[in-house]
């Protein structure tokens, strides 16, 4: 029998609800973005995000059901992101999911947002195991091995800043609008990598480090300003992006060599970066490995990936009870 999961995602600044069939087919997906509002403040303001989720939640639900032409009765389970994220924002989705589950006597499934990003790769495609999973987002930079559904082994993670956070900070210092990542990439396309930025520490682990690179860019911009020199912004964006992505490539290459695994999935908001995709494709070609990256729509925060990640839990009968609560941290 087909499994339909109604999934809710509200961990940051998008209120999203999806209906996903058998963990892979998106029947409907609605995303209400608050990006324009938060752009006014140069970043996400948590209290405003929580307020906007509250106002949007039933309207988004209504649209998701209408687009799918389905009723809640037809759902097999209700899934919701419960960590990691802004707790006040997560809570809106969680309370809504619990209430729907209670009102319709459906099982509730709590989903880790990061695992959701990985499972975005199961939509319209199929993850095969064992595989390497690289998570690159505003809050996380991690490299994992997945032996099977929900079997994770962490190889390494960032010791300081996440790569997405680093992109956003660099965007800000270059005077680019929020959200900074896509704007840095756009600018980098028009430049050349002429600035000499420090490579993150070359150690022999799988860990990442981005704070040194971030500080180097900030200092370079400030020092140039003090000397009254013009910054070639597009060249700096290009140089920064190249060093930042190089760090990812180096660790993935090491994992290809040491684990012998021939599959790589990339997950999280930064997987929307076109330069990252090109470079990783080249790397995968070199090692005859298969690369999976979600469609652009499923790279950024969305509820379809939560529905996809909830599916294996549904099959295993791993349900949450109504004391499910939000958490800002959420290691895999």
């Amino acid at each position: 029998m087909d499994v339909f999961i109604l999934a809710i995602e509200s961990s940051c600044d998008e209120t999203s609800i999806a209906i996903v069939k058998n963990g892979k087919e998106v029947i409907s997906l609605v995303i209400a973005s608050q990006m324009d509002t938060h752009a006014l403040y140069g970043g996400v303001v948590p209290e405003i995000a929580s307020r906007m989720h509250t106002e949007a939640i039933t309207m988004v639900l209504d649209e998701a059901l209408k687009k799918a032409n389905m009723t809640i009765d037809e759902m097999s389970a209700i899934a919701v992101t419960y960590k990691p994220g802004l707790t006040g924002s997560l809570m809106v989705g969680i309370e809504a999911a619990k209430t729907i589950a209670l009102m319709y006597d459906k099982p509730l499934i709590g989903v880790n947002h990061l695992i959701g990003h990985i499972y975005a790769n199961n939509i319209d495609d199929k993850m095969e195991f064992p595989m390497l999973a690289l998570i690159v987002s505003g809050g996380h930079t991690e490299l994992l091995v997945m032996e099977d559904d929900y079997k994770f082994l962490k190889l390494g993670e960032t010791l300081d800043d996440a790569i997405g956070e680093c992109f956003d900070k660099v965007a800000r210092v270059l005077g680019l609008k929020y959200p900074g990542g896509p704007n840095v990439e756009r600018l980098a396309k028009t430049g050349n990598c002429t600035y000499d930025l420090p490579q993150p520490v070359m150690d022999n682990t799988y860990n990442f480090s981005y704070s040194g690179l971030k500080s180097a860019v900030i200092n370079l911009v400030h020092n140039s300003k003090q000397r009254g020199e013009e910054i070639r912004k597009c060249d700096l964006a290009c140089s920064f992006q190249s060093v930042a992505i190089d760090e990812l490539k180096r660790k993935v290459e090491k994992a290809f060599l040491e684990t012998g695994i021939k599959r790589l999935v990339i997950a999280g908001g930064v997987s929307a970066n076109g330069y990252l995709k090109e470079e990783m494709q080249k790397l995968c070609d070199k090692y005859d490995a298969k690369l999976l990256i979600p469609k652009l729509l499923y790279c950024t925060d969305n509820a379809a990936m939560i529905g996809a990640a909830a599916y294996p839990l549904y099959l295993k009968g791993e349900f949450s009870d109504f004391s499910l609560n939000a958490s800002s941290v959420g290691d895999i």
Binding site: Y41, G42, G43, V45, E47, I48, S50, R51, T54, E55, I57, T58, M59, L61, D62, I72, G88, M91, V92, I94, E95, A96, K98, T99, I100, L102, M103, Y104, D105, D321, F322, S323, L324, N325, A326
Partner: protein, 187 residues
């Protein structure tokens, strides 16, 4: 007619079940984790009274003011109950709910850790001016005649009666009454 009453605006979580306006069951919990407890206790309330979701005809929700997160929990639960099961939603502020016991002009307040949420009502329980939030200092300096009622229980049956001829709220439109301004600071 079964009515569920939900109040999550501050430290005490209160759920009530009224049958034709008579309070028949109540769940109370002092906690700072309403998010873990509200739906769980609601389920208990329904189970204890052998009720299913379809048996609920109305939900009364305290829409604020109080803890932002606390108020949001009750409001989101009420919105989703209303939208998914076509349950009639009635909303009332905690201050107005308190005022129902006073049949004269009065300014009532409830305090949080930094100040006081207040509202002035006439003898017909109508709000006279906008709700306000003042710090303890501002309250002291003003010569406001305000009755501060903290940790006071409200009368659910009285609220039910007061709301009987009041309009229901569309679930999409229902939102918390925050009153207090927020500081938006961002580096």
């Amino acid at each position: 007619m079964n009515t569920v009453y939900i109040d999550t605006h501050f430290k005490k979580l209160v759920l009530g079940l009224l049958k034709d306006g008579k309070l028949v069951d109540k769940k109370e919990l002092l906690s700072n984790k309403h998010s873990e407890n509200t739906v769980r206790l609601l389920q208990e309330l329904l189970n204890d009274n052998k009720l299913a979701a379809k048996d609920i005809e109305q939900v009364i929700v305290i829409n604020g003011p109080g803890s932002f997160t606390g108020v949001r929990i009750g409001v989101v639960v009420a919105k989703v109950m209303g939208y998914t099961r076509n349950i009639k939603i009635k909303a009332i502020s905690y201050l107005q709910a308190l005022d129902l016991e006073y049949n004269r002009d009065i300014t009532l307040g409830i305090s949080d850790k930094n100040g006081v949420f207040g509202g002035s009502f006439n003898s017909r329980h109508e709000l006279l001016k906008d709700y306000f939030y003042l710090s303890f200092d501002e309250i002291k300096k003003s010569n406001l005649d305000i009755t501060i009622l903290d940790d006071k229980d409200v009368d659910m049956e009285l609220i039910f009666k007061y709301l009987e001829d009041k309009e229901e709220v569309n679930p999409h439109v229902l939102k918390p009454l925050y009153v207090k301004r927020i500081d938006v600071a961002n580096d």
